[in-house]
């Protein structure tokens, strides 16, 4: 329905404000900013994610098992927290640099250099906290799908480096593209960090039109342009994923890591992982710890319990509900492989790519619409506004993609002949689902749950607007203290707990995956 409204508006005659947006070259600026961020972050996150996954998959080096887990941790840092944690780069690195530029080349050069620096920093910070999406997908891809092939390639005498490009990447492609898709969609809807660095993107534009111009029409038009970009990304993903159906050789699953032939290889792998982990996780964590050290005496620890409880319960509750729904969608798409189902599952991605506040407005109009349909409307309003049902539904709209993407990739890995065999043996489609697909999907399911748990923990705009009264989560408290009050020292405490509980979630689920593999 929100989609339909957007499309309909695109064909209306443009409002005055829209003409001003186009007339002053503002739209071009939005598109340019968005493209720079998409390309930069996508490229950097791919290099980080694939490089790290390849290193821990095929090399044996000191601390490999630690790295294979710890390299997921940066995803626990919300982008708005990472932006603040990296503020030191602005004050201690950029500002002195800018003063030097002004002295050497003049004020105009400083203005330009400042813009370039901000874009570069934004790309780096986003890539550092978003690469784990690619990393996790690539790990699954390398170990589940192409493990046996990589081994064969090695036996045939190819170097590990050549095996990456000739075997590893092509075979793990569906999984990696799925991970990259999540990164790009996150970049599309990023708001706080872009505002922080003064970068104009379509999402910034949507807010601008909506709230400042009070011009819903232009906002929706911009959302339409944003959706075109998203569609382009999704279609690229479908094309890239292609019709390829590579299947796992589950019988051959084994630890691929081997002793490297050269010391140099081990040093490179270890060095790459260490540097990445340092910049993506240890450095921001250290900055937060330094701030928290100043702030700790001003905060009563007891007051932190409420947001901790709010966050964990919402993340678990909504995570399980969304996972169940995603599982249903993924299996339905397999049973009925027509265009409708494919489109339907792709449409779910819009919720992930559109800015959170647009999803909020869509949810609110949907609530109003449903209340209008049902005669006992006070009941629906109560259900939506006084209980977390509305919020859980909104999370589902927003986070169907991170749940669905790994499940779909996982489904691709299960041979269709398995379904056929099961059906021939007389099982119903739901019977085969529980006997065949669910067990085979354990890895993608847990992967999806990690991503969901951490995503919901970090989620901000929906939680702020749609939560029932008096619900405080770690994310809303961090946001309140850091962004609204600008009391960074005090805000770094809930931020730290938020990051660390995300890490704990990652560790627990990592354990579960390991256990399920041993079983």
């Amino acid at each position: 329905m929100p989609l339909a409204v957007v499309v309909a508006t695109l064909f209306d005659s443009p409002s005055e404000a829209w003409r001003e947006v186009v007339g002053y070259g503002v739209l071009g600026g939005y598109v340019k900013g968005t493209m720079i961020m998409l390309l930069g972050t996508g490229l950097l996150a791919s290099i980080f994610g694939i490089g790290a996954a390849w290193a821990v998959t095929v090399w044996e080096f000191p601390g490999r098992r630690f790295f294979s887990l710890a390299l997921m941790f940066p995803m626990a840092i919300p982008t708005y927290v990472a932006a603040y944690a990296y503020d030191f780069a602005k004050y201690e690195l950029r500002d002195p640099m800018m003063l030097w530029v002004r002295e050497k080349f003049g004020a105009g050069a400083m203005m330009d250099a400042n813009i370039v620096f901000n874009h570069a920093l934004a790309v780096l910070v986003l890539a550092l906290v978003l690469y784990p999406y690619v990393y996790i997908a690539a790990r699954i891809g390398f170990s589940e799908i192409s493990g046996a092939y990589i081994e064969n390639s090695r036996l045939l005498g190819r170097s590990l480096w050549r095996s990456l490009f000739s075997v590893g990447l092509p075979l793990a492609r569906p999984a990696i593209i799925g991970g990259l898709l999540l990164v790009l969609l996150e970049v599309m809807n990023e708001y706080g960090a872009m505002l922080h660095y003064g970068i104009e993107t379509l999402t910034i534009g949507i807010f601008n039109q909506w709230y400042d111009w009070e011009d819903t029409d232009s906002a929706i038009r911009l959302a339409g342009v944003a959706m075109l970009v998203v569609f382009a990304i999704i279609i690229a993903e479908m094309v890239l994923r292609g019709r390829s159906r590579f299947h796992a050789h589950h019988g051959l699953r084994r630890n691929l890591a081997e002793k490297p032939k050269t010391l140099l290889g081990a040093a490179l792998a270890c060095g790459f992982c260490s540097i990445l982990l340092f910049f993506a996780f240890l450095l921001p964590l250290w900055e937060l710890l330094k701030l928290a050290w100043h702030g700790v005496e001003k905060v009563q620890v007891g007051e932190l319990m409420r947001p901790v409880f709010g966050s964990l319960s919402m993340a678990l509750l909504a995570g399980l509900v969304i996972l169940a729904a995603a599982l249903f969608l993924a299996y339905a798409a397999r049973l009925f492989p027509g265009l409708t189902m494919r489109l339907l599952s792709k449409m779910c991605m819009l919720g992930y790519a559109l800015p959170g506040a647009v999803v909020v407005i869509a949810m609110l109009s949907a609530t109003a619409f449903i209340s209008g349909l049902v005669s006992v409307d006070s009941l629906t309003t109560t259900l939506f506004t006084a209980t977390p049902i509305g919020l859980v539904m909104a999370y589902a709209v927003r986070f169907m993609t991170p749940a669905l993407a790994p499940l779909e990739a996982g489904m691709t890995g299960i041979r269709h002949s398995m379904d056929e065999a099961s059906r021939i043996l007389g099982r119903s489609s739901w019977g085969s689902f529980f006997r065949i697909h669910l067990p085979l999907l354990s890895m993608p399911l847990l992967g999806a749950l990690i991503v969901l748990f951490v995503d919901i923990l970090k989620e901000l705009p929906l939680t702020l607007v749609l939560s029932p009264p008096n619900v405080e989560t770690l994310a809303t408290q961090t946001f309140g203290l850091m962004h609204k009050e600008e009391r960074f020292a005090e805000g770094s405490l809930p931020a730290l707990i938020l990051v660390l509980s995300g890490c704990v979630g990652v560790i627990i689920l990592h354990r579960l995956i390991r256990r399920s593999h041993q079983a």
Partner: protein, 359 residues
């Protein structure tokens, strides 16, 4: 098909729940159940939708509850989103009070028809005429001054005079200000539109944008830091950010506060630009009387004395503040333009900023 769907969800959920250990299982189910139950709706409560995300406000609400026995339920989000939520909830909205951090949003809320007049002798006595809506649809409870922050090292206070002066050639490459998407800048420009008309306001915004040392980025605090770092010499910012820096637990922030000075502009003319935080009673408020009581409390002496100490905002009686920090910035004359005007001229201001390419 749909039955199977439900079955799948439940069986997946129950598989998950049964794989937990018993203690965890019980608490998990308890959590879900407690979440699904709506909070009990007693009469002794008031529900606040607030744009203000301050812990100090929570402490004030706790005091209010202690004094009156009225429980305060809070939803904190941006004023625009909360306004949309109230509209969507319609007549069944649980909201009693809408609180924003600027007059423009309150004017907008009134225009959207979601507020109702709150008439009370106490409110009339406690809130000055220009700090409330003409028909009492909203009342201010804190005041925020938008001033010039200058480098003590490179700028003499005598070099500064007014907002208009920042458009002069001597400030080329020396000014910083945040994005025009911010409401504080919009209301400042709205006050200039009200004082000098749209053409002069456009000329001003274009010239100040041309004098900037860097493209707008970050918050008011970032502008103040840019002045302290030497990137620029003058910043446009709200005073309470200086309070935050001066009282920050982080020594680096306090160092920044030591390097800058506060200058109240336009003291020989209309006065420094001020905006407010304020609240209005929602039209469908289920607890209208409690809502008015809350507004009376926020504009009353106890709350008024607390704001300068906790959020470094000015009380409604600007000159009457006892705060040492606020007094150290000096007494000043505030622009006494009716705040309603800020809301009415907001659309002009947004358009002018776009024309001036002040992004």
């Amino acid at each position: 098909m749909s039955l199977n769907n439900v079955e799948t969800i439940f069986s997946t959920l129950s598989t998950c729940i049964y794989s937990m250990n018993p203690m965890f299982r019980i608490s998990f189910i308890a959590i879900i159940v407690s979440f699904l139950l709506p909070s009990s709706g007693g009469a002794k409560e008031v529900t606040v939708y607030s744009h203000r995300h301050y812990e100090a406000d929570d402490a004030l609400y706790a005091k209010f509850t202690k004094q009156t026995g009225i429980k305060v339920n809070i939803v904190k989000a941006s004023a625009d989103a909360l306004l949309e939520r109230i509209k969507a909830e319609g007549n069944n909205s649980p909201a009693d009070v809408l609180i924003t951090a600027d007059a423009g949003r309150l004017v907008r809320a009134r225009a959207a028809g979601v507020l109702q007049p709150a008439t009370s002798a106490k409110l009339a006595a406690q809130v000055p005429q220009n700090m409330r809506d003409a028909d009492n649809h909203w009342h201010a409870f804190t005041v925020r001054a938008r001033v010039l922050i200058y480098s003590k090292e490179r700028v003499k206070p005598s070099d500064l005079s007014s907002y208009e002066d920042l458009a002069g050639a001597k400030w080329k490459g020396r000014v910083v200000a945040r994005s025009s998407t911010n409401i504080y800048n919009q209301s400042l420009l709205a006050s200039i539109v009200a004082a000098a008309g749209p053409d002069q306001a456009t000329a001003w915004a274009t010239a100040v944008r041309g004098n900037m040392a860097r493209a707008p980025e970050g918050s008011d605090r970032d502008q103040i830091r840019a002045v302290a770092a030497g990137i620029a010499d003058v910043a446009i910012a709200n005073t309470y950010y200086v309070g935050l820096l001066a009282n920050s637990p982080d020594p680096k922030d306090r160092e920044v506060a030591g390097k800058i000075g506060v200058f109240f502009p336009n003291q020989n003319g209309r006065g420094a630009h001020v905006n407010i935080s304020g609240g209005g009673v929602v039209k469908s408020a289920p607890n209208r009387n409690n809502a008015i009581k809350l507004l009376e409390f926020l504009t009353g002496s106890q709350a008024q004395a607390s704001f300068p100490e906790t959020t470094y905002e000015y009380p409604l009686d600007i000159s009457g503040t006892q705060s040492k920090l606020l007094k150290s910035w000096g007494a000043f004359k505030a622009d006494n333009l009716p705040l309603q005007t800020l809301g009415e001229k907001n659309a002009d201001a947004v358009k002018i900023f776009a024309r001036a390419r002040w992004k």
